[in-house]
Structures are given as C-alpha cells and as structure tokens.
Amino acid sequence: MKHSICMVSDFFYPNIGGVESHIYQLSQCLIERGHKVIVVTHAYGNRSGIRYLSNGLKVYYLPIQPVYNQCILPTVFTTLPVIRNILLRESINIVHGHSAFSALALESIFHARTMNVKAVFTDHSLFGFADLSSILTNKILKFSLAGVNHAICVSHTCKENTVLRGKIDPSDVSVIPNAVDASIFTPTSTERDPEKITIVVMSRLVYRKGADLLASVIPEICSRHSDVQFIIGGDGPKRLAIEEVREHFQLHDRIRLLGTVGHSAVRQVLVRGDIFLNTSLTEAFCIAIVEAASCGLQVVSTSVGGIPEVLPPDMIQLAEPSATSLVESLDKAIAKRRNCQLLSPDGAHDWVRKTYTWQNVAERTEIVYDKISAATEVTLADRLHRYNKCGLVAGKIFIFIAALNYLLLILCNWISPVQNIDLAIDCRKLRRLKTGGVNLEQSS
C-alpha cells in the first residue's frame, strides 16, 4: 500500500547534521519504493517557499524564522492554518515528525492528530530526568506522545529512555536504527601512513562529547607508543584544552588539529586513520562510529547510551568513561593493529554496507506506516482521555489545548472549506509517465 507522507522537522537542508541527513535519505528511499513524500521545515534566511530536491522531493520552507537553537517559536495554534492547508493540498495520510527538540515537528503532529491524520514520531536523542529543563521537556513529550500513533527510536537504549519519559506502551515504539550511505564512506589504503599508527577523532570539542577525556588520554598514549599520531577534526570551546596539552607535552608533530571539517571532507580525514576514537559521554546511536567503520577503521569508544548496540565486538573496543579504561582499550587496539589482527578495511566496509542501509530503514518504516494505516480511528473523546492521563494538573491543561485546537480547526474549515482547496500535482504520476508505462505522446 502506497502512502502520502509528510516529514516535518526544524532540522533540514541547507543545515547539515544527523537528523537532516536522516530525513533526506529516508525520504529518498521511500520515494524509490513508490510513496509520495514531502518535507516541511522553516525558512532558512532567504530560502522560503517551495523547493524541489532530487527525485521530486518537495520541500515546503514555511515563512517562519527560527528564534532559538534552529527552532521556531512554539505557539501551538498559529501553525494550524498553514499545516492544515499543506496536509489537505497534498492529500497526506501520514505525518512523520523528527527530533524532540523540534517545536515544528511536535506542533505538526498535534495538528495532524486533530485532523485525524495518522502521526509517527522519531526520537533521535537521549534525555535525563532530573534537571529542570529535562522535566519540562519530558512533560511536553508526554503531551506529544499521548496523541501519536507510533514512535520510532534509533536504538534500544533510546527506546527505554523514550518509554520512561513519555509514559507510552513499549509495543507502540519500534526500534529502527540509523543508517549510513556506504558508497560515500569507502576505505582506501593509499592515504594511510604505513609507518605510524594514526588515531582519528572527529567530533565537536565540547564537554558532552568527552573532550576532557580526550585531553587526558592523548599524552598517556603518546608517551606509551612512540609511533602513534592523532588527527583531531572538529572545533568547540574545549579546543583550548587540547592545544594546552599539545603545548605542555611538546606533541606538535604528533597531534594535528584540523578545526571544523565540512561534511564532504569527512571521508578524506577518516581514511587517513587506523583507529577511530570516540569519547562521548552520551549518545543515542552515534553515526560517526558507523561512518568510521565503513571507512575501514577500528573503533575505540566509551560504552555509553546506545553505542554497545551498534557494532559487533570485533569491530569496536568498548571502554568505561574514564581515562584509564580508554587508554587500556586503545592499547589493545594498537596491539591488534601491530599484529595485523584487525578486520580488514574492505571486510569492515562490506559489513557496514550490508547491515546499515537506508533501504532497510525505509522498509522497516514502511511496516510501521502500514500498521498505523490499518489501525482504527481514535475518537476525540478517546484522545482527550489520553491527554488527561499526562498528569493531575497538566492533564487538564492539555485537554483544554486539544479542545481549543479542535474548535480552531472547525473555524478553519468554515473560513476555507475543504472543497475549495486545490490539490497539488502528484510527482509520482509525472515520474510514471516519464520513466515507464505508456508514452503519452505516442498514444495521443
């Protein structure tokens, strides 16, 4: 069964990032499978209006500017008219929101449910429970997830985290991992320095990504092994700490700081290494280690979040988040490299190419779409009842908001009736006419 899907998020092209490429790749694969996909996001500077990306992927850049952290101002009700219009014009039957940080995604899911359109939410990150910002975000998440038909998480740890935060039934959450475009991340042996062992680090240099751990590990490894060198790509507030270590231990010829590395240049940096080091303190999935494995590097990483689930033990060395444990694991990896006991780069690349593919992600997402399309409709009363379960006081507030949104929808239907809204051209029909089947010019 073919669906009309609307991907919504605050994070999309021209921004580059994990969520952005996830949405783009997933949309492309779904289009290949014959579904109709559009993307809705906010304006980026002057880029506002409708743009078409490859394969007829239609992107709506809504004329709303982001205010904080790449997200629009959350107003709940003001996005209703425009989202309603888009969903009706494009005859959307599934809305797929991405990222709990995205106000636009959460609001669109809310409006979709008010209009009885099925909604799916994908969570890409892990959250805590104890601090004030987490408590507020989790309440908002409970509100969003109370209305959603199904949720998708990128790892089992992420699923546990989402189930606890959003208080939803675990059988309503599917685990569909991220994937990587293995054709871009191919290994080559010519870039590597054969006499030295190169350790590559590619992350933002911030506390959360373990920059402090990195700063304490580097001098220890450099003193134990004289043929090891580090290449560090990425920038951030902790760059100074790394530079200080370099100064203090006189390691100028053994540590190279590249600064921010553009997305297209990442592969060039990765293929220069033998070992990839990841010191993050929290990660839901960590696409960076899969990219590194695809380029044939052995991975050494802290065992946090969803990282233990991603790669098999012969491709990754896990360590506790402490300097001593990381040094131990790096020692093991370096020893393996010296004794040529590592998996061959081509072997690693083939494994990643077969295991983490976007086609597989699209197939599994399609199963979720089929399941929710077949499910029975939830009445307004049931929805309000589910919102009520979100909390003693919060439940009543959420019921009020949901009811008000429903009334506003009726108002919109009265002002701009459904029959008067033109339907947009379906790109799939154009593709079918062009690529296969009947050649229109010949038949007429």
Binding site: G128, N161, V163, V175, L281, T282, E309, P321, T355, Y356
Partner: protein
C-alpha cells in the same frame, strides 16, 4: 525439518546489527532491566533533622532581633548610645572569642588590618548618616516597610546555610540585609539612631554568621544552648513590641523546627530517581 524452533531459539540480544527474527516493536523480558531507581538514597532520623534545622532558625532569630531593635528605638525604649555601646562590647568579645577558638595568635598583622577596617567603616558610617536620615523622606512608611520585608526575605533565601546549592549567594544576602537596615534607619529621628542601627545591622548580618560558623565547627553541642538563649531573647524583645508578632514568631518557629522535618521524612517514600544507561556518563577519575 523445523524441529522445536522455539526451544532452540537463541536468547534475544540487545543489538541493532542482527536480524533476530522479531518485529521492530518487540518487547523482551529484559526490557528496562538496566534501570535502577533511587541509587543515592539518604535515610533521615527525625531528631537529627530537627537539630540541623536550627541553622535556619539562627538566621531568622537575627532578622527578628534586628526588627525588634528598630521598633524599640522608634518607641524610644532603647537609646542609640546604649545600643552602640552594647553592640560594640559584644562585637569585641565575639572577635576575641573568634580568634581564640581558631587558635590564632593575638598580635598578628591581621589584627591591625581589622582595626583599620573597623575605623574606616565607623568614620564613613558616621559621616554618611546625616544623608541617610533624609534619604527616604518622600517615600511613604508603608513602602519602606514592604521593601524591608522583601529584602529581609531575600536575605533569608540566599543565605549560605552550609549547602552548596545554586541559589546560595552570600554577597546578595548580605547586600539585601544592609539595604533593609538602610531603609529602616532612614525612618529614625536622629543621626545617632541611624548610625547605631546600621552599625548594629552590619555586626549582626556580616560578622555574627562568621562567628556562628566557627562555633558550629569547633563546639557543635553549643548550638542548642545558643538556640535556646537567642530564642528567648527574641521572644522577650518581640513580646514587648507586639503580642501578635510574638505569636507569629512562635508559630513560625514550630513550623520550621518540627513540622518541616516531619514533612521531609514523610515525603521520602515518594522519591523516584531513575538511573540507567541513557544517563550522561560521569567521568571516573
């Protein structure tokens, strides 16, 4: 053929790279197995908590004594000379006690420095007192009292009671108290009154907490006796100003010393701290 597939089915593993033959929304028995609740629990004992609550009460005593002194001066029961002489004598005794319990030498350079600071402060205070008197002439007394109330409340809220919470700010707390004293001092009739009240406020809010902290470290048993002493001083001085106020004070005392500890202990079973592999890792040394 397909013999007993279920029995030979391998245990479900929490990995993403294997197709384990189950649907994506499969919930295994090991779901949430690594979640731990309430790892760092502390058990509280009622009387221990009551004893520790006197830290808060001491600061409240200071505030009430200060306000009572203001009202006594207003009613001309207390003369500024008496207040100045008494507070100076007590301060000097307290100062001596402070460096005795810290086992410091009596004749070090810091004595001279402290003496200089005191001298500068007294001269500055005395010369600025006439300005202080007319400072709030145009503001109504009610506004002054309201501002004083909020400033003293801020003093209580931001005071350093020995924890390192984010809300603690010694500087802000002291500033609030001094501002409150300036508000009240400006309502007094003569320069002498204003000067003596502000000096008393400084001694009470800036110097007394230091001595209190040192006494608590070296003589912890003295705290209860001190509480009783100060408590009775406050009760007596407030009672002579207003009987309603003393009732309020006693109720407040009961609330903080008995009711709040009981409430804290009653709420402990509801604690629900969730820990698990999703937490941001703490770097182990």
């Amino acid at each position: 053929m397909a013999m007993s597939c279920d029995r030979s089915r391998k245990k479900w593993q929490k990995v993403l790279y294997k197709d384990q033959g189950v649907s994506d929304n499969y919930v295994d028995e090991s779901f949430l197995e690594e979640m731990k609740k309430n790892l760092h629990i502390r058990t509280y004992e009622f009387w221990a908590v009551v004893r520790e609550s006197n830290v808060v009460m001491h600061q409240i005593y200071s505030v009430w004594i200060f306000v009572a002194v203001y009202f006594h001066m207003r009613n001309f029961v207390l003369t500024p000379q008496f207040l100045f002489e008494m507070s100076s004598a007590v301060t000097i005794v307290g100062y001596i006690v402070n460096f005795v319990i810290l086992h410091e030498n009596a004749l070090t350079k810091s004595r001279w420095k402290d003496g200089k600071t005191m001298g500068i402060f007294l001269i500055l205070g005395f010369s600025l007192s006439p300005i202080l008197m007319t400072l709030t002439k145009t503001i109504s007394t009610d506004t002054i009292y309201a501002m004083t109330f909020f400033m003293l409340l801020a003093n209580l809220l931001f005071h350093d009671y020995g924890t390192d919470a984010a809300i603690v700010s010694q500087a802000f707390s002291l500033n609030a108290a001094i501002f409150a004293s300036i508000c009240l001092a400006s309502r007094l009739p003569t320069t002498w009154h204003a000067f003596s009240l502000v000096t008393f406020a400084f001694e009470l809010f800036a110097l007394w907490p230091i001595l209190r902290r040192n006494l608590k470290i070296h003589f912890p048993r003295l705290q209860i006796i001190l509480s009783f002493l100060l408590g009775s001083v406050v009760t007596v001085s407030v009672a002579t100003v207003s009987s309603v106020a003393v009732v309020v004070f006693l109720l407040l005392h009961l609330f903080i010393t008995i009711l709040c500890p009981a409430w804290l202990i009653r709420l402990q079973p509801y604690k629900n701290n969730i820990h698990g592999p999703w937490d941001e890792a703490v770097i182990k040394q």
